[in-house]
Amino acid sequence: MVPVDTPNIDLPTPERSAPAPHQSLWTRVEALLFDVQKPARYVGGEQGARSPVHGEGRVAWLLCYPDTYEIGLPNQGLQILYELLNDRDDALAERSYAPWVDMESAMRAEGVPLFSVESHLPARAFDLLAFNLSAELVYTNVLNMIDLAGLPVRSSARDPSDPIVVAGGHCVFNPEPLADFVDAFVIGDGEEVVGEVNEVVAAHVPVRSAQAREELMHDLARIPGVYVPSLYVARYEHGRLVAVEPLPGVPAVVEKRTIADLGQWPYPRSQLVPITEVVHDRLNVEVFRGCTRGCRFCQAGMVTRPVRERPAHQVRAMVEEGLSRTGYEEVALTSLSTADYSGIEQLVRDVIGDPRHEGRVSVSLPSLRVDAFTVGTAAEIQRVRRTGLTFAPEGGTWRMRKVINKLISEEDLYSAVDAAFSQGWRRVKLYFLIGLPTERDEDVAAIAELGARCAEIGHRYHRAVTVVASVGGFVPKPQTPFQWASQDTAEELRRKIALIREAARGTRGLTIRWHDPEASVAEGIASRGDRRVGGVVERVWRAGGTFQEWSEQFDLGLWEDALAAEGLSLDEVVHRSRDRDECLPWGHISAGLHPDFLWGDWREALAGGAVEDCRWTPCYDCGACTGFGLEHVVASPHPPAGGSQGTGQNLEQGGRVPVHLVSARR
């Protein structure tokens, strides 16, 4: 809505006058592949890939991942939608990933537009470009891909017949930084709503007039869970957002979509197996969605409630079928905290004990809970190739961990680490956040102490051990109790990192690693910004700032210059804390959590109070279930053995260091 004078930097853009040709660009793409890194990123050919037939009666989706192929290919959300759409009679889907900088410049030089990896069709041959937004720093890549597709980056400048740009994923819980570039956001679980969007689009394409496009936008906005930003007006007073108001006929608040039963959605059924190396190159089976541990910094846990477990028999079937179809020898049981899955030990034993696997299949649990019990399960499954174990205590002191509601007692941590070293691991990684609300220097320095104690435990079992304490700067996220919190400056984060390094100096076996504080600042801009941050994102992109997730490409200077040019400041957008009365840019988007609940939990955090996990204890009415008529789907009514964290725990004693640590050397 706010007109932005865009700097006049010319990027050669593929011509947009030509009608969308349904002709493969393969020979032109192929000619570029001799001189780029990792050319297999651009050729497709995955097992499980579809070759959809384009034509009348099918809405064509280009599912876009705004990062490299090897990061984007494994994304399960994108793969689920890919199958659901291609299984429909009235839809088809292909995929596209952000070309790396060498390929992008070759494409621009030769006038090759963004293409799909299946048919190598130009992006303009599709009715929709659908972006998966998993991280904020990819926003400039979204603009770059829209531009490479041959579309104006701003929605308002597009022609009626241009493809519609939609987006989903965790980042859309604050869609405002991309509100000027994306026609419609889909909030929450995509499984059901993607079909509803398809039907609305099918009823409107081909779109031939501006009026027809506007009607389409209104129809999209009527779908629950769909946010069409052009139908909302942001108002500012004294340089600050005061309201985001809906035009007549559209909902004032867009509520997220939630599937009630994960068991009804056993997807992906044919996980894509790439011909080239990607991250998480293994079978992935989602065992549950949602998490109610209640860590206050965790946006994923807050926006995906309630917990919905997949039935164990379905998990086993998906694992068996998936392993024999793909030839993978590793399966990851994915979720936000897989050790919390009801009956996880039995499930794991069933998978690794299956005689058909001859002991070759390994199971990975991407997120371990911190306790000895969990380590025991891990020991059982990682019989082959033990690399390292990772735990995430997040805070250095018990007080700090109560503030963030990550209720890991020191006893839990030390017994977990003891179990890990005693069972043969020599490398333990610990994740911590710094810059947390109420944090004091003693909380920060305690990270080094915890790490040193863990290394000391390790030395009881092995001469050489490595304990890596990995430190990241906290970025307050929308739709969490910490959404009002202040964020540390890069300078303050650097000071705290120096404190930890100083305290850790000379400790044998302890290594301190840290995330670039400047990247946390840029993430802060994109996380809590309002619509005006869209101008910042556009300027960073125009200045060449793509792939900002990649340290070799990241440049905070670009973001600072862009903020200044938009009349904004780091203090205004990132560092200051927010009041209860302030209009939050994402206030018209709801993850189901009552604002009162979030505010109450924020106050509770500041008072150092902890809350229990509601899947095993009485409901405290956060809103995620009650608001949608949902319930947790959890097979076991009891918290897992050993999983004390936050349930039935004496919270007064969590900081007590046990006098005697568990099992001595055997």
Binding site: A40, Y42, V43, I275
Partner: protein, 281 residues
């Protein structure tokens, strides 16, 4: 380790889009395909066990090949997993006779066809044979490779005269950086044969339509050090660029005769020699 179990030698091609995968990618696709095939592959011992697969000289990323090889060591106790539809006898029937030439049609043998179906498009198995006990590895034995290379940037007369000059020269030095030092390597001894071929003779590789493109056919030795197609084009001097490469054959040298690596799997040296003669002619 490799000497203990039954070993199969597999010949396969890598053409089309899949040629943009790396050698490491090819290793992974074979590991997955073999797991799905029901063939029981032997595994290495130790801290980080791997299936016992042995590949020949790595094909550069982007190059095609009609003649890639892989040696697979089968688990000694039982080489076909239970539940598989092949009986042991059938496996031996499949692998007894190596094919004379890569067939133009998709391979007909059940095992080769089944493996091809489990591999990505563009990776096709053309022959499988049992290796005689004590055979050396592909890396040890392959002594040269034949290539067809598409180059562009030079008129064909100029290209022909540069090829002649290279063949007449006693040395062909290229400079390269190795461990931070510039060293000079002589590629000339490794260039066993090099000719400019007319477009119509493009053969298995699609003919180019570009007027300034030409095909070279080359035989390059693997020892003392291998010459990559890119390096060969480099020593032809400035102005020319490699745009496509296809490995046509790999050769093992025995008593002065070139033998195709599957042919050494024949029953007895005589057979291999006969085949080799037929092939070399």
């Amino acid at each position: 380790m490799t000497g203990s179990g039954v070993r199969l030698r597999v010949r396969y091609s890598k053409t089309g889009k899949v040629r943009f995968t790396s050698h490491r990618d090819v290793v992974r696709m074979w590991e997955r395909a073999l797991r799905r095939s029901g063939l029981r592959v032997a595994w290495s011992e130790g801290y980080s066990p791997r299936p016992l697969l042995s590949f020949g000289y790595a094909l550069p990323t982007g190059a095609e090949s009609l003649a890639e090889y892989l040696d697979v060591t089968l688990a000694p106790q039982l080489f076909v997993a239970s539940g598989s539809h092949w009986a042991a006898e059938q496996l031996w029937d499949d692998v007894a006779e190596p094919p004379a030439e890569p067939p133009a049609e998709p391979p007909a043998e059940p095992l080769a066809a089944r493996l091809s179906a489990l591999l990505p498009d563009g990776v096709d198995v053309h022959g499988i044979a049992r290796l005689p006990v004590g055979s050396g590895s592909l890396q040890q034995e392959v002594s040269s490779c034949s290539w067809k290379l598409e180059v562009h940037g030079l008129a064909s007369e100029e290209l022909t005269s540069r090829v002649e000059r290279l063949l007449a020269a006693p040395t062909a030095l290229v400079e390269r950086e190795r461990k931070g030092r510039i060293t000079s390597d002589d590629l000339r001894p490794a260039v066993l044969a090099l000719t400019v071929v007319r477009r119509a003779e493009g053969g298995a590789v699609e003919p180019t339509t570009h007027p300034e493109h030409a095909w070279l056919q080359a035989e390059l030795a693997t020892r003392p050090r291998g010459v990559r197609p890119r390096e060969l084009v480099e020593v032809l001097g400035p102005g020319t660029k490699l745009s496509r490469a296809c490995r046509l054959q790999q050769w093992i040298e025995r008593d002065g005769t070139r033998i195709e690596p599957l042919a050494i799997c024949g029953h007895g040296a005589g057979t291999a020699a006969t085949r080799a003669e037929r092939r070399a002619s």
